[in-house]
């Protein structure tokens, strides 16, 4: 399988279990957000996928290459971006990228072409000759991302890439992530920023104490989405009046508590106004119409609570 396929991936450091029986699947053109508080095992997981750490148990394949037996091949097709830019501050930007491309076996001429292309892509041309230490943190992170793309990797592993960046730089990088996804790369994005995960990822996995506590798809296009309607009165009304509304999933309309109706639809932009209009037309007061499932934030907080973690480790931008 192309992309990342990890099964029962585990890693111990002495007696401590850092990652425990983790299953991950990321296809080309998809972003998986790996969420979790500090110390949850996100970085360890990513490092195992990048063939930097050997798993204590389980298997992981990147584009079919085993991260243990074919580690060099995995490194050759994987790009890793860390939370700190980790650049040689005394080197000039272009020279650094050309130099780093050499480590991937890219010939000097091709390395120049590739470095220039990435410099253009990320709008870094103004700093071509500048020592890397003089660049802003956001620009340094862009350089780090460019570095991870020098060898045109099939899989990108982004470990807290927007940590400690300002809002503008963060938004800029998110756009880049989307572009990279559209170019067909499988991307694993480690973050504890839920808003970031919701905005760019196709699926999320919440990692707590080394285990996957929750996994869900965020952009399941074509699958029905659930919505909940809260009415002003708990007095029952005849739900058959909603059967005339097109685009509702057959049999999905039901009561979810006093005054709360739930239904599913594949086209909410068409169905939701009609459901509301039908109810209001029959004299029902409408208080709220919201996605029926728990939000990612609610799930995350609940999972943390279940695991006994403090809430303040979560933040939204």
């Amino acid at each position: 399988m192309d992309g990342v396929a990890a099964q029962s991936l585990s890693r111990r450091f002495g007696a401590r279990v850092a990652v425990d029986q983790v299953d991950l699947h990321v296809r080309p053109g998809e972003i998986l957000a790996l969420l979790g508080p500090n110390g949850a095992g996100k970085t360890t997981t990513v490092r195992m996928v990048a063939a930097l750490l050997r798993p204590s148990g389980g298997t992981c394949r990147v584009n079919g290459y085993d991260v243990v037996a074919q580690a060099d091949q995995v490194r050759q097709i994987t790009g890793l971006m860390t939370d700190v830019p980790a650049l040689y501050g005394d080197m000039a930007l272009r020279a650094y990228l050309i130099w780093f491309a050499g480590l991937y076996g890219i010939a000097e001429t091709a390395a120049r072409v590739q470095a220039d292309a990435l410099i253009d892509q990320f709008g870094l041309a103004a700093w071509n000759a500048a020592p890397l230490a003089t660049l802003s943190r956001g620009t340094q992170q862009k350089v780090a991302l460019a570095r991870s793309l020098l060898h045109d990797p099939h899989v990108l592993l982004l470990d807290e890439p927007t940590a400690s960046l300002d809002v503008e730089a963060t938004l800029g990088l998110r756009e880049v992530f989307r572009t990279l996804k559209e170019s067909g790369r499988a991307i694993v994005l480690c973050t504890h920023n839920l808003a970031e995960a919701e905005k760019v990822a196709d699926s999320v996995a919440i990692l707590i104490n080394g285990r996957i506590a929750h996994q869900q798809r965020l952009r399941a296009d074509g699958t029905p989405r659930t919505y909940r309607l809260r009415l002003a009165s708990a007095a029952p009304i005849d739900l058959s009046l909603l059967q005339t509304v097109p685009w509702l999933e057959r049999g999905s309309v039901c009561w979810r508590g006093p005054g709360v109706i739930e239904y599913a639809t594949r086209v909410p932009e068409e169905a939701n106004p009609r459901v509301a209009a039908a109810l209001v037309g029959h004299g029902a007061g409408l208080v709220e119409l919201a996605p029926g499932r728990e939000s990612l934030e609610e799930i995350y907080l609940r999972k943390l609570q279940e695991a006994g973690h403090a809430h303040h480790q979560t933040h939204r931008h």
């Binding site: 990048a50 930097l52 091949q73 050759q76 890793l80 980790a86 080197m91 780093f100 480590l103 991870s148």
Partner: protein, 238 residues
Amino acid sequence: MRTIRLIATRELGDLFGSRAKGIRMLLFVGMLPVLTLVILRLQLARPDYDIARLPTGVLVSFMYTGILPLNFSMGMAALSFASEFESGTIVPLLAAPVRTSAIFAGKLVAALAAGIGLAWFSQGLLFGLFSPMLNRPWPVPLSVTLLMSAGVPVLAFPLVAMTMVLGSRARQARTAQANSTLAFLAVLAVSLLIAWRRPPLTPPVVAAAALGGLAGGAVLLAVGMRLWDREELLSRSD
């Protein structure tokens, strides 16, 4: 080989990155032979100076102008890994498809090249400026002079290899420097042994010492490389 060259050029670029840095380094190293010659000139001006002692004095000076610049090598070797651990730059390096032995070899080559280059520059300056500054011919036979210069790499190899092994075991630059002082203790021990036993500098003794140095360096290198597993290096960066 390409990885070794890339790592080595990057390390050397760090040391001699800018023209100002390079000139400062050469001036610093150049001060040693110039000061030595100034002192010798003052000695020679003394009426009671025994001219028969000059060749020995020059030989000792020539030896030390070759040894002291190796401090740069040792400094580079001690800090080359620790600075990567501290800044986190080791992580993207390890994520690339390069062998850790190539990373090590590149750093070693750079440290050796810097130290040996500076040592030969310093020795060359002493040799070149001797006649113009003291108005007399070089008093040491050329064969002995060349032997002394050739001894620089032989001395540098085990010394730098040892410093790099010790330095790389530390997470922080400060600890790496402290660890590397142990290498100086080894040099001190060898110096004391030589001073005590006073071995004659016959070809077999010199050859044995050279082979011993190279073998010692190679053993250190092999031991060090066995210690440097990718995970081991990575763990020091956390």
